[in-house]
């Protein structure tokens, strides 16, 4: 090969300068995401002493020069707290995508670094970062960013009040473990052991049935069955106490949707008119009206929960077209997480009506939540009811409990303890002064 070709091989072309495409998530990443190292900042403990900036600068420059530090503590008058600006080593770092010279990379250890050799100090990473964490050196105008001191952060060691804590994330999320266990057991019990019991269950003089089925039955027959009333009351009290706990923890179709969500990617969008989430109430009304008109429970014939519960066992296995309903509706996961539950499920609609009387609520305190870029609660919420934009603005989002399925993913994921369960009448949110 001629030497000229060698040189050409090492040249950067326009393709090299384009932002790289995001890496594809592997199946393993979906089920067991890697733990992300980062520093937790507690504004309640921060005294604004600036020791973190001081020691960080000694590593960056060899001098005590806080202006050259990779961490900055600022007083946030809007949120009324100190705010430490430093890299969160995001799971999907925008700075990496934005860097035109590919100087910013995320290592196998989860640490996002800037390679000084390639960095041209353009500042695009700082513009892309929701934290504005890449900081421009006040003296040399270089861009600096926290690299966690390669896993042993000096600022954490030296913080006199323990406001900074180095963590690799929660090793085990007990709510997640408990929820998956309950969901699996519920699925096994309702679908494989006590076949069809979700739709109707009778033990001696005691009977229970699906509340939506019972409602349709009332409209279809014009009579109120004791079993329907009992089950409605039971579900009513469960929902009043724990909101739509059934949807998040017990529903077998919800379990299927949670599994499918981890496997198939999101490819399509849904029309905007569905976003009001009123369609499910229309379906519930239609089911009731249809039942009254036709004299039988019309929605039950296509109900994915009922279909699942009736689909296993000698008598029920492969009952024709019914079996197609579950994968068909699970295919909605190609659009949004739990899109069936969000927009269409009439069982959820009935529970949402019951949940108007909820006793408990979930609150997220934006002041306790330290990071604009975190918004993990909004990311993990399967119902998409946590307003990430509000969190980015430093405001506490209001969570509509009629839509919340009580899965408690937000509580489990929040590294700052900003998501809490409160009684409905309790005012204030974590980290804020109650007026």
């Amino acid at each position: 090969m001629e030497p000229a070709n060698d040189i050409r091989d090492n040249e950067l072309g326009i393709d090299d300068l384009r932002p790289r495409r995001p890496q594809k998530r592997t199946l393993m990443d979906r089920f067991m995401p890697r733990r992300r190292p980062f520093i937790l900042f507690d504004p309640d403990r921060c005294t604004d002493c600036g020791t973190c900036e001081m020691v960080c600068a000694t590593r960056n420059t060899g001098n005590i020069a806080p202006a050259s530090a990779s961490v900055r503590v600022v007083r946030d008058d809007v949120r009324g707290r100190n705010l430490a600006v430093y890299c969160q080593h995001c799971r999907k770092p925008l700075c990496v995508e934005a860097c035109p010279t590919r100087a910013t990379t995320k290592g196998e250890d989860g640490i996002v670094r800037i390679d000084k050799l390639f960095c041209v100090s353009c500042g695009l990473c700082a513009a892309a970062c929701p934290e504005a964490a890449p900081l421009r050196d006040g003296r040399t105008a270089e861009i600096r960013k926290c690299d966690l001191c390669e896993g042993d952060p000096l600022c954490v060691w030296h913080c006199p009040n323990g406001a900074l804590v180095y963590t690799k994330g929660k090793a085990f999320r007990w709510i997640k473990g408990l929820r998956w266990t309950v969901q699996l057991l519920s699925f096994l019990l309702l679908v494989m052991v006590f076949l069809g019991t979700f739709c109707y269950f009778n033990a001696g003089s005691f009977g229970m049935s699906c509340p939506t089925g019972a409602l349709q039955n009332i409209f279809a027959t014009g009579r109120v069955l004791l079993a329907g009333l009992t089950s409605m009351l039971a579900i009513f009290f469960l929902t009043v106490l724990f909101s739509r706990f059934f949807c998040g923890w017990i529903c077998p179709f919800g379990f299927i949707l949670d599994l499918v969500d981890r496997i198939i990617p999101k490819k399509f969008g849904l029309p905007a008119f569905l976003k009001t989430r009123m369609a499910k109430y229309g379906i519930l009304g239609g089911a009731a009206a249809g039942s009254a008109a036709f004299g039988f429970q019309v929605f039950c014939t296509v109900c994915p929960i009922g279909t699942l519960c009736r689909s296993y066992g000698q008598q029920a296995m492969f009952r024709g077209a019914e079996m197609a309903i579950v994968p068909l509706l699970a295919g909605l996961e190609l659009t949004e997480r739990r899109s069936w539950c969000r927009y269409f499920c009439p069982v959820g609609a009935l529970l949402a009506i019951f949940a108007l009387l909820h006793l408990l609520k979930i609150v997220i305190g934006a002041k306790k939540c330290k990071k604009f870029s975190c918004i993990q609660c909004a990311e993990v919420c399967p119902m998409g009811i946590i307003d990430a934009d509000k969190l980015r603005e430093g405001l506490s989002p209001e969570i509509p409990m009629t839509e919340c399925i009580g899965c408690m993913r937000c509580l489990d994921r929040c590294p700052y303890g900003a998501a809490k369960i409160r009684f409905r009448w309790q005012k204030g949110v974590p980290g804020e002064v109650e007026l």
Binding site: T51, A57, T58, T61, R81, V433
Partner: protein, 427 residues
């Protein structure tokens, strides 16, 4: 480690000159003692700012910047029976470190500017900055400077009270206030100096061992901190529990100066209503309580209504202790605010009998009376020489020996003793 980078600014000529200290200054003087020597050299008209050899270093609580001036330098001297010739005003929070990070250890201001002016210091250079057209109160001034002036990390500012020539004006660090009860704001106003902006983009060198020493000393101090207490302990020791009751309902969060492991200030978040509309909606307010004596004076007079008042005093650039003296006898939130406003404009007749006597005007007058007597004054003098918070050193006097390990080469403990003795004797 370099120390003693000095700049002399002639405000009347709008010039700045880097001065190399001669042998006498180098040998004998550091910190506030060097300020004293510079005043002696450049005349009683001079206003000197200076950090100590430990200011901005890894020594805990190394936050002190000292503003020194002769009594006659103020336009209207503070009316206090205990006034002495030279006053050293402690400026804490981040003022001291940022001063040194800006490339200057001592700044001498001579003459008076022909119009209100601001100085911007960074990388050892001094720039004259135009005053924003709508300066207003201290927070507004800081906000407008953040927009219009070159970047700065800290600022020493004066407010409307100093502009009006009120003798109870106090200089402020940003909008957070200070411990100035001895007329530094007046001395700045006499020079037509509205403020000093500290860029702080540089740094200072440190010895390799300092990081480890700092960690060990901070651990040691934290073990003793419970005994020494924070803001509430200091206030309680000075005035009893009554002044703490005034904080009821407020959310308190500890705050500290630069690299201080033992916070003695608090951010107070509180709910307030507009005093003109008592039944109106509540909103959140917050204020940094760094002036223990100021808080005690206001809390004794107004109890639970003191938090908005101290914030208003800081906004107007008033000394809260003096402001408390001018409040009407009857408590009324609306008229209290009006009284402070009138005071900041020089409205009410000022009589010496109504003014609060500063406990120790030679050391700025704002230090909480942790210790009294000669020993406490000696410790304060040493802190002013070292560039370490005097309150910290009074709370942890046993740390003096450890702090000396952070001294840069060329500053001997013997010269420190001499310098501290000079500052003490002058006071």
């Amino acid at each position: 480690m370099s120390y003693m980078r000095m700049v002399v600014v002639r405000l009347d000529q709008r010039t700045a000159e880097v001065v190399t200290p001669d042998g006498d200054l180098r040998r004998e003087s550091v910190g506030a003692a060097l300020n004293l020597a510079l005043i002696e050299r450049y005349g009683a008209d001079s206003l000197v700012f200076g950090g100590g050899p430990l200011t901005g270093t890894f020594a805990p609580a190394s936050a002190l910047l000292v503003g020194s001036f002769a009594k006659g330098a103020a336009a209207k001297p503070v009316q206090s029976a205990q006034a002495t010739l030279i006053r050293h005003v402690p400026l804490l929070l981040t003022a001291g470190p940022d001063f040194r990070f800006s490339g200057i250890d001592h700044l001498v201001l001579l003459g008076a500017a022909d119009r209100p002016t601001l100085l911007h210091i960074d990388r050892g250079r001094v720039r004259f900055v135009e005053l924003p057209k709508q300066a207003g109160d201290v927070p507004s001034l800081e906000t407008s400077l953040r927009r219009s002036a070159p970047p700065f990390r800290s600022a020493i500012l004066t407010g409307p009270a100093a502009d009006a020539g009120v003798p109870f004006a106090a200089a402020a660090i940003g909008a957070k206030g200070s411990l100035d009860k001895a007329g530094l704001a007046g001395a700045m106003t006499a020079k037509n100096l509205k403020g000093i902006l500290l860029g702080g983009s540089g740094g200072i060198a440190f010895a390799a061992e300092d990081l480890r020493r700092s960690l060990e000393l901070v651990e040691k101090i934290k073990r003793q901190q419970k005994k020494a207490g924070g803001f509430t302990s200091l206030v309680e020791a000075a005035s009893g529990r009554d002044c703490l009751k005034a904080l009821k309902g407020a959310t308190l969060r500890d705050a500290a100066c630069f690299h201080c492991p033992a916070p003695c200030m608090v951010h107070a978040e509180f709910a307030e209503t507009d005093p003109r509309f008592p039944g109106g909606p509540k909103k959140k307010g917050d204020v940094l309580l760094l002036d223990h004596m100021g808080w005690i004076a206001l809390a004794k007079k107004r109890g639970g209504q003191s938090l908005p008042l101290i914030r208003e005093a800081l906004r107007l650039g008033l000394d809260p202790s003096a402001a408390a003296s001018f409040l009407p006898r009857e408590a009324n939130p609306a008229s209290d605010l009006d009284a402070l406003s009138a005071l900041a404009q020089g409205g009410p007749a000022l009589s010496p009998s109504t003014a609060t006597a500063s406990p120790d005007p030679s050391f700025g007058g704002g230090l909480a009376p942790i210790g009294t007597g000669e020993k406490a004054r000696r410790i304060t003098a040493l802190a002013f020489v070292l560039g370490v918070c005097p309150l910290f050193l009074q709370r942890f006097p046993q740390a003096v020996g450890d702090l000396l390990a952070f001294l840069p080469a060329g500053v001997s403990p013997a010269s420190l003793d001499r310098a501290a003795e000079r500052v003490f004797a002058q006071g």
